[in-house]
Structure formats: structure tokens, C-alpha cells
């Protein structure tokens, strides 16, 4: 056998690959004599490291080979995402989810600066007296949210809106605003 070829096997088993040593991989697996060299070189390595098992069974690989002979050929799908891209891809997905979550929270108005519940609940006793209601609205709104000034007739308009919405909601099967509706409906009956 070509000495250079055996040297390629030596390089291959050390993982110091170049194009030449890669090219012998197929031949190495097909050729019985070359496989024996591969086996003996590895036995030398295990022996030097003191890793030889108590019983060396040279027929083991042949038995495995015979057992998988009748197994269907593996045709695994080719991987399209390389390993170094996976963390980047994961980060991009996580960042997208975070952005959507932040925008969603702002859009749905569940943050602490949104105050319709507080306004409506606090103003409830003042509805019967428009003047007091207007005064109270301004004071309470300033306490809850100093940057936002609610117009004088806003509470009455908001309550009417919620009553209308409640009627629409029951017809359209829309969920939501139940706490507001309960309060406003009670006020409407009064």
C-alpha cells in the first residue's frame, strides 16, 4: 500500500484534516485493509492511554456492521442553519417577542399611567351634581395623573359612552369593560 496513503490515515485520525486526507474518507470506509489500519492505529492510541478494555474483542465492529446491514439507509435532512447562527437566530426571536410584548402592553393600556377606572370610580357620588362633579373631576384627575387634564364634561360623556358600549357589547358578543359597565349601569338607574 502507498506509504503516503497510510500517512493520510494517520493525519485523518488525528483530525488534522486537509483536502487530501478528506478525500480518502470514502475509500477508507469501503476498503477492508484500510479499515484494519484505522482500527490498529486507534488500538495503539487506546493502549498508550491505558484505555484498552479487559477483553479486546476484534469481532465487535463486524457484528455491529452485520446488525445494521439490514437497517434502512439513513437519509437525514440536510441542516440549513449553521451552528454559529443558532444563537443569533434565538436572540433575534427573543428580541422580536420582547418588542411585541412592550408595544402590546402600551397599546392595550394596562400600564399604571392609564386611569379611567380610577376617574370613574372616584367621581361616582358627584354625578348627581354637575357642578360638584366638574370640580371633583379636575381635582381627582390632577391627583391621579398630573400631566393629563380631563375636560369638564368628560365624566358624563364617558359614562354615556360606556352605557352605549355595554348595549353594543351584549349584542355583538364582545367581552370586556365589565367593571366599568357595572358602575355606570348602577348610576344610570339612579
Amino acid at each position: 500500500m502507498n506509504k503516503n496513503y497510510r500517512e493520510q490515515i494517520s493525519v485523518l485520525m488525528d483530525g488534522e484534516l486537509d483536502d487530501e486526507s478528506l478525500s480518502i474518507l470514502k475509500d477508507l470506509s469501503d476498503n477492508h485493509e484500510h479499515r484494519q489500519i484505522w482500527c490498529r492505529y486507534h488500538l495503539v492510541g487506546e493502549s498508550l492511554r491505558g484505555n484498552l478494555p479487559s477483553h479486546v474483542d476484534l469481532g465487535l465492529a463486524d457484528r455491529v456492521s452485520a446488525a445494521i446491514k439490514n437497517e434502512p439507509n439513513i437519509l437525514a435532512p440536510k441542516r440549513t442553519v449553521t451552528h454559529f447562527l443558532k444563537p443569533v437566530l434565538g436572540f433575534a426571536i427573543a428580541a422580536s417577542v420582547a418588542v411585541v410584548a412592550i408595544l402590546g402592553v402600551r397599546h392595550t393600556g394596562t400600564g399604571p399611567s392609564i386611569t379611567p377606572t380610577q376617574s370613574v370610580a372616584v367621581h361616582q357620588p358627584d354625578i348627581t351634581s354637575p357642578q360638584l362633579a366638574n370640580l371633583s373631576t379636575e381635582q381627582e384627575t390632577q391627583q391621579v395623573s398630573p400631566t393629563y387634564k380631563m375636560p369638564a364634561n368628560a365624566t358624563a360623556r364617558l359614562n354615556r359612552y360606556l352605557v352605549n358600549y355595554n348595549e353594543y357589547r351584549t349584542n355583538a358578543g364582545v367581552q370586556g369593560m365589565l367593571p366599568y359597565v357595572r358602575i355606570v349601569a348602577d348610576e344610570g338607574e339612579e
Binding site: R6, E7, S10, V11, L12, M13, D14, G15, E16, L17, L22, L25, K26, L28, S29, D30, R35, Q36, I37, W38, C39, R40, Y41, H42, L43, V44, G45, E46, S47, L48, R49, N51, L52, P53, S54, H55, V56, D57, L58, G59, L60, A61, R63, V64, S65, A67, I68, K69, E71, N73, I74, L75, A76, R79, H83
Partner: protein, 192 residues
């Protein structure tokens, strides 16, 4: 580590349908896996059976191997699980010791009871070890140091070149010549 590159190439070949590439992985790792399994399964013959089963399971699972870990790490887990399963099955078979020897004789064919761990295998192990030590002792210093740094210390060619103050091509040649010298003594032993 460079070794993983070769494994990766072999794994990709197996995943493209090249069964013989899997043989090279078996030949490469059989000793380590037998040693590993032997820590769980004391009977040497059972350990060889479990090793064989572990490799077959690995082959079947090859489409699921995505290369996120080294092949050996993946194979290691399969071997340990196979060994543990074997022990679990053994512990649920209290009657086995009472089975008549005739039961085994009647099995026959492919399922016949085989004794892989024979005294000859144990003797072979000792002979290989002696032969390799003898061959290493007979090597010139530069070859002995090169093969030892590679096989025992696991250094790359580049690191060995630095350690031995020589070009990488010389390292490659020295390691190969050392292997050849050892193989010259080992081959007749294994061909017997």
C-alpha cells in the same frame, strides 16, 4: 479539538446513507465504550453485548444527531442509558439463575448464547499492551515524544511543533513513522 472534525465528517457521511462510515466510528470508539459500559455491567460478555446494542441504537438514532455535541458525548449518553436499561431488565429477572441450561441450548440459531468475553480476548488485551510498550521503547526519541504528545497528551500538530521546535510537516511525519513502527509489531499479533 481536531478529532471532532473527522467525527463530524463521518457522521455526515452516515447521515447521507453511508453505513460503512459508521463502521469507522465503531472501530474508533469501541474500546472506550466497552470500558464505559464495563463500569456498569460487570460481566465482560454482557458488557460486549451491551456495547454492541448501544452502537446499533446510535445508528438508528443518527438522523436525530444534530451535531450540537461531539459524537462521543452523544454516544456516551446512549451507552450509559443502554447499560442502565440492561441492569434494570436484569434486576426484574430473578428467575434467570434458576433456568435450566437446556433452555439455553434450545434457543439455537442467531439467538444462541454467545460468550464474547473469552480468556483469549483477555490474553489478547495483555499481548497488545505488551507489544505497544515494547515498540514504544524501541523508538527513537523524537518519534516517541511526538506520538506520546499526540496520543497521551492530546496536543495538536501545531502545539507539538512548538513543543518540539520543528515544522508541522515534521510532526506529522514523526507521528506517522511512530505509528508505522508500532503497527509493524502489532499486525502479526492481530492477524493470527
Amino acid at each position: 479539538m481536531g478529532n471532532n472534525v473527522t467525527d463530524q465528517q463521518l457522521v455526515e457521511r452516515v447521515q447521507r446513507g453511508d453505513k460503512k462510515a459508521f463502521d469507522l466510528l465503531v472501530l474508533k470508539y469501541q474500546s472506550r465504550i466497552v470500558n464505559l459500559v464495563s463500569r456498569f455491567v460487570r460481566n465482560p460478555s454482557d458488557a460486549l453485548d451491551v456495547t454492541q446494542e448501544a452502537f446499533i441504537k446510535a445508528y438508528r438514532a443518527m438522523p436525530n444527531f444534530r451535531g450540537e455535541s461531539a459524537f462521543y458525548t452523544w454516544m456516551y449518553r446512549i451507552a450509559v442509558n443502554t447499560a442502565k436499561n440492561f441492569l434494570a431488565v436484569q434486576s426484574r429477572r430473578p428467575m434467570e439463575a434458576e433456568q435450566d441450561i437446556e433452555d439455553f441450548e434450545q434457543i439455537g440459531g442467531e439467538n444462541a448464547l454467545k460468550e464474547y468475553a473469552t480468556p483469549e480476548h483477555m490474553l489478547l488485551r495483555d499481548e497488545i499492551q505488551e507489544t505497544v510498550i515494547k515498540a514504544i521503547d524501541g523508538l527513537p526519541d523524537d518519534l516517541r515524544v511526538a506520538i506520546t504528545l499526540r496520543e497521551v497528551e492530546g496536543l495538536s500538530y501545531e502545539d507539538i511543533a512548538v513543543a518540539m521546535d520543528c515544522p508541522i510537516g515534521t510532526v506529522r511525519s514523526r507521528i506517522f513513522r511512530a505509528r508505522e513502527a508500532i503497527d509493524k509489531l502489532l499486525k502479526p499479533l492481530l492477524d493470527r
